[in-house]
């Protein structure tokens, strides 16, 4: 069988090897799909913002609905102070969504199914949010680890738990997205393999399962992008509005 279910996650070089110093920054299939995602995002939103007609056409409606969707998500979770970070969260949401959705096309590569990609995004968010928190509140930002209304006896324990939970944010954020994408795609590949191995007689069952899984995976692709963006908003909310 040609299909090892994990072989779809293989990264391979496209074109020559590019080395900068000791680092290999060759153009790979991952790079190709990152570029495809960003180019299609820019294309769609450029087309959607070109003309300003009172009655928007389909692509303009798509762009404007996405805009209002993300802006509503940010204002709902992080309040009006998060306005300056709208462009970043919008780009993040769109990037993750398009990478996930591109992965749903057969024979494509899912950029977000690689832990290193999601971890870089999550680490950038984590560092950015922490820096914003310290800039806005100074050392008062450390109050985040000391919830109010906790008995003094429990306080040392709670603070340790809070710090661990804060530090595990980038890991949970990145692993959530990566694991969801990888698991879903592996499942689909496995069931696809069953269709071949069971043949015309028994292949219908895994095929129907595969069809159902495709629908589920499209939902997951959207949902994980949404979760990624909304968790970013929540972390940003912690940094901007210190509630503890």
């Amino acid at each position: 069988m040609a299909a090892n279910p994990m072989s779809q996650f293989d990264v391979y070089r496209i074109g020559p090897e590019i080395k900068v110093g000791a680092f290999d920054i060759s153009f790979t299939n991952a790079s190709l799909f990152m570029i495809l995602s960003t180019v299609s995002i820019l294309l769609i939103f450029n087309l959607g913002s070109k003309k300003n007609s009172i009655l928007p056409n389909k692509i303009q409606l798509l762009a404007e609905l996405s805009y209002t969707f993300v802006s509503k998500m940010i204002s709902d979770t992080a309040g009006s102070k998060a306005k300056p970070y709208f462009a970043f969260i919008f780009s993040l949401f769109m990037f993750v969504l398009f990478c996930n959705m591109f992965g749903m096309i057969p024979y494509t590569f899912t950029v977000t199914s690689h832990i290193i990609v999601t971890f870089v995004l999550a680490a950038f968010i984590f560092i950015g949010v922490t820096v914003i928190g310290f800039i806005k509140h100074g050392f008062g930002y450390l109050k985040l680890f000391v919830p109010s209304g906790v008995p003094a006896v429990l306080l040392p324990l709670i603070v340790v738990i809070e710090i661990i939970s804060y530090l595990s944010r980038p890991i949970s954020l990145s692993v959530r997205l990566f694991a969801n994408m990888m698991a879903g795609h592996t499942m689909m590949k496995v069931f696809g393999g069953f269709v071949i191995s069971l043949g015309i007689v028994g292949g219908w069952l895994p095929l129907s399962f595969s069809v159902a899984l495709t629908g589920l995976e499209i939902l997951v692709a959207f949902l994980q992008a949404y979760v990624f963006a909304i968790l970013t908003c929540i972390y940003l909310n912690d940094a901007l509005n210190l509630h503890h």
């Binding site: 990264v11 680092f23 790979t28 820019l42 450029n46 300003n52 462009a87 832990i115």
Partner: protein, 196 residues
């Protein structure tokens, strides 16, 4: 039955994954650090470019479009409201004009009627006066005629009777004696003839 096969197939799929992991020399390709730097580099490059283009060029345009549409819709609504108010005011004005003109028409009609009635009254009075005058004149004439009538009749009676007598008798009769008889008769029978 179908359910059982479904769950069996899911169960087998996990076997398959385990086998795949065992068979794979490098395990998960995600954990192979060969292309990590390349992925990080391209991620930062593509995401950075996309972020810059979106935040500097495209998102402000979309936000601008949304704002301008919102303001235009609000403006249109305001304009429509204003025009509605205008038309309401005009309708009121129009109603006022109509009621005013109705009143005016009524008053003009009343005036005209009064005037006509007055005219009719005046003309009737004049006519009444004329008619009265004419009646009075006619009565006067009749009176005069009535007064003169016995004399004339008397005269005719005298002349006739004198001529009659002359033809019958053939002799001249004294007019004065005849007239005395006629006067006497007419005085006696006057009431019978003229019955006033």
């Amino acid at each position: 039955m179908v359910k059982k096969i479904y769950f069996q197939s899911i169960f087998f799929s996990f076997f398959f994954i385990k086998e795949a992991f065992a068979a794979e020399s490098g395990g998960m390709p995600q954990l192979n650090p060969e292309f990590w730097v390349s992925q990080i580099f391209w991620l930062i490059l593509t995401f950075g470019v996309m972020y810059l283009v979106l935040s500097k060029l495209i998102l402000p345009k979309i936000s601008n479009n949304l704002e301008s549409r919102k303001s235009q819709i609000l403006e249109n609504i305001e304009a429509a409201e204003k025009q509605r108010e205008d038309s309401d005011a005009k309708l009121k004005e129009y109603d006022e004009i109509i009621s005013k003109s109705k009143l005016e028409a009524n008053s003009i009609f009343n005036q005209a009627r009064e005037k006509a009635l007055k005219d009719i009254g005046a003309k009737r009075e004049v006519l009444d006066k004329q008619i009265d005058n004419e009646i009075a004149e006619a009565e006067k004439e009749i009176d005069a005629l009535r007064k003169n009538a016995p004399d004339k009749i008397n005269k005719i009676a005298i002349e006739t009777s004198s001529e009659l007598l002359q033809k019958l008798i053939g002799a001249e009769v004294n007019n004065s004696s005849i007239s005395a008889i006629v006067d006497d008769l007419s005085k006696r029978n006057g009431d019978k003839y003229y019955g006033n």
